[in-house]
Symmetry: C2
């Protein structure tokens, strides 16, 4: 047999036990916070009808959809009649979690509550060129409120996001910031600088790069995008003169955008949001940033983005998008959401050492096997320890202790029990600490308590 390539497909990953457990650790914190804010989970199929997906993510997006081929007779028929990319596929892999939410909002409108607060944590699939940190299968973690216009929604979404990050270990005010802006303010700034309405989207993309490329980079980008020089310079002047401090920024904007209804509306909404979060966990992280643009053109109100200290490292983002969720319903449905950058957050937690040394789920103790004659006694001991709430690995075969210790070590199990015929005769159990090398002789009914105490002391 030719050697098969057993690596996972390009751009995808196998998650070995420790990686799964670390991901679970994060996801459990995310879920507990989101649930405490009244959100409920949704899960949708990996495959969507190809018609559900096509045309929703722009031309480039369409090219990045993994297409699933028709089968059987239908496939044979299509191979004869129209062997083309679109005709041969009848399904595609989930590309994001927003289109599925829109589909669900339409399909189950009678069953869902008037205001639908859902979170969804599932992998999505994009046929992108794989690169460091860019995968073809990766997790998205979305939180959305569908059905309410209230600024309470934004404040709760911001608070929930901040609380997740704090509980994950980003607990100091400087560990992350949440930049907050409003589409109306951006519109007002562009109008004030004299950028033509037709060039608005294009100018936004240029401004969005300010934190990556600086003022000079934005100037080049504006030129490339054919924004007239006068307007571009006016815009750059504005960007250069933003004061610091949230109140100061809002006052500055208020004075600047007197003629822009959208701008004033945006300022008012941000003031309301700041008021609503004033007692909440996001408060000290929020930084009003009038040049935060977020590339996606579907935002209609407040927009926000979580940034870690490192430049260009985003922990997630979101905003209000009132025209998207109704795509299958054929009417406007207000919505506001936040997508947590799960992959980036896990990476940053690893860099900053924020994972506990031992993660819940790993075995805490291993029961060794001495000989064929002691197997039943070892099984009983394992059962007793499990009944005491411990995670217990039982080595399946009698054999040299050295080999068993090595296996325990490989699995990062610190404590092993020894139950030889000698110990059985004496009516005791030995417990060895593989880290210190010390060994303790205990009465059988003491082992659980002894281990629990040690494990607690090591925060296990």
């Amino acid at each position: 047999m030719a050697k098969t390539n057993t690596a996972p497909p390009s751009g995808t990953r196998d998650f070995l036990p420790l990686e799964v457990l670390r991901r679970k650790y994060v996801v459990e914190i995310v879920e507990s916070v989101y649930q405490s804010y009244g959100f409920e989970p949704l899960e949708t199929p990996t495959m969507e009808r190809i018609d559900t997906l096509l045309g929703k993510y722009g031309e480039e997006g369409d090219q990045l959809i993994f297409r699933v081929m028709k089968r059987g007779v239908k496939l044979q028929r299509t191979l004869k009649s129209d062997p083309s990319e679109n005709a041969l596929a009848d399904a595609g892999l989930r590309y994001d979690l927003t289109v599925p939410l829109a589909r669900v909002a339409s399909e189950y409108q009678q069953r869902l509550p008037r205001i639908f607060k859902r979170y969804q944590i599932q992998p999505v699939y994009r046929a992108d060129r794989p690169a460091k940190g860019r995968f073809r299968e990766f997790f998205q973690c979305d939180l959305d409120v569908v059905g309410s216009d209230s600024s309470v929604v934004e404040s709760e979404v911001l608070d929930a996001a901040a609380q997740v990050l704090q509980l994950l270990g980003f607990s100091k005010p400087g560990d992350f910031s949440i930049r907050l802006n409003h589409r109306g303010i951006l519109k007002g700034i562009l109008q004030t600088a004299g950028v033509d309405l037709s060039l608005e989207e294009s100018a936004l993309v240029a401004i969005d790069k300010l934190d990556k490329t600086g003022l000079e980079g934005v100037r080049d980008e504006l030129r490339d995008r054919k924004i007239p020089d006068t307007a571009a310079e006016a815009l750059l002047d504005l960007l250069a003169t933003i004061p610091s401090g949230n109140s100061a920024v809002l006052d500055w904007l208020q004075a600047l955008l007197t003629k822009s209804e959208d701008g004033l509306q945006g300022i008012a909404e941000l003031r309301t949001i700041l008021l609503y979060v004033s007692g909440g966990p996001s408060k000290k992280h929020i930084k009003i940033d009038p040049y935060l643009a977020r590339g996606l053109s579907y935002y209609t109100g407040p927009i926000f983005e979580v940034d870690f200290l490192e430049q260009g490292s985003s922990g997630g983002g979101g905003g209000r998008y009132d025209d998207l969720i109704g795509m299958f319903l054929g009417r406007r449905v207000p919505a506001c959401g936040f997508s947590l950058g799960l992959e980036r957050i896990i990476l940053t937690m690893e860099e900053r050492g924020l994972f506990p040394e031992r993660i819940a789920g790993q075995p805490q103790v291993m029961v060794t096997q001495f000989s064929e004659d002691t197997i039943s006694a070892s099984l009983d001991l394992a059962r007793t320890l499990r009944a005491g709430g411990l995670r217990v690995d039982l080595y399946p075969e009698p054999g040299k202790y050295g080999r068993q210790f090595k296996y325990a070590d490989q699995r990062k199990i610190r404590y092993v029990t020894l139950l030889s015929s000698h110990e059985m005769e004496a009516g005791v159990v030995s417990v060895k600490d593989l880290q210190s090398g010390t060994q303790e002789v205990l009465q059988p009914d003491q082992v659980t308590a002894w281990l629990r105490e040690k494990l607690t002391a090591h925060a296990d």
Copy 2:
């Protein structure tokens, strides 16, 4: 816009909140038990290389694989040169969890412990014709020990499976049974009845149907499969004379299979397993069943199957399969596993009412909104309740109480807090029980404790 079909693709499902939470409830119990037995989680990509999948599941299986199309230039080239089903695809969706395990065992052999105890709970995909209870995307939940020949493995796998079912509510001995057999015993029985070795697999498929079709059905099946009449009748005579009780069955087999080395080996192994589980949770459910065949030809030793009381309703099954996991390594690797029938178990739990009335994760209380002026106070109250560990939904907009109560009711939230300007002036909070209609006036610092007590009383 033409009305889009917003149903999930045929054979797949959307899981709305309560369904996700119920599934989580089951999975969390499964994971906690599996972890307590020293197993660790593995996750593999949704897509596998098409070469990894093809030829592993028989001809019929190959036809049921969802194929993912090549993209871009590669696709265009293939459309010109060889527009055929196999050439157009470069990946396929995960068909089971065993082939990925074999791939992982090969790819990471240096990093994995010598004995790899893993569980894996992920959806798999089969292009089967959808039917009641048969889906194209469904969850498998596999537990496997790779790398040990010891019967301790079987006993721990059986105990873990039984303990999961007991904790899920199948707690009485009669709620489920675990039928246990051995490939060697089946082989011995076939030899004793005079079935030719070349017809062994075929005869096994016939026997496997005994519990569905009865002796007459097996007789027909054996005839259809060209098993000579003498052998078939000898086989049927044996099947009809099996005594009851595990010891009696094993003694009967011992007397019957004196000339079959495989048979005697199988009997000895089952005796060892029974000895090892004698103190464990599976003991009282195990029923030695010499005609349990399990269709899959890859089993090499003990085989077992969980049955609920209803005929033909399997809660999972497994066994020892020593020749499969090494498929990519090119050598024999001992392995034994159990696949829990997650979908069937959830269905059976629903039928028997085994889910708690309220599932963890749902919001426990809703904070209403009275007017624009009380929003900040309501936000503060929600924060206080959350800090007290409650799952709190905050209604996002002020509005008629009736409408807010209706929403709470829809979300199955029993308790709502009321904080009007009247209550604010009096420095109190009212809490309404939507089920009884009663209302309590409380000091703000009493609300959390009051709710906690009520929720505990209702086991929430």
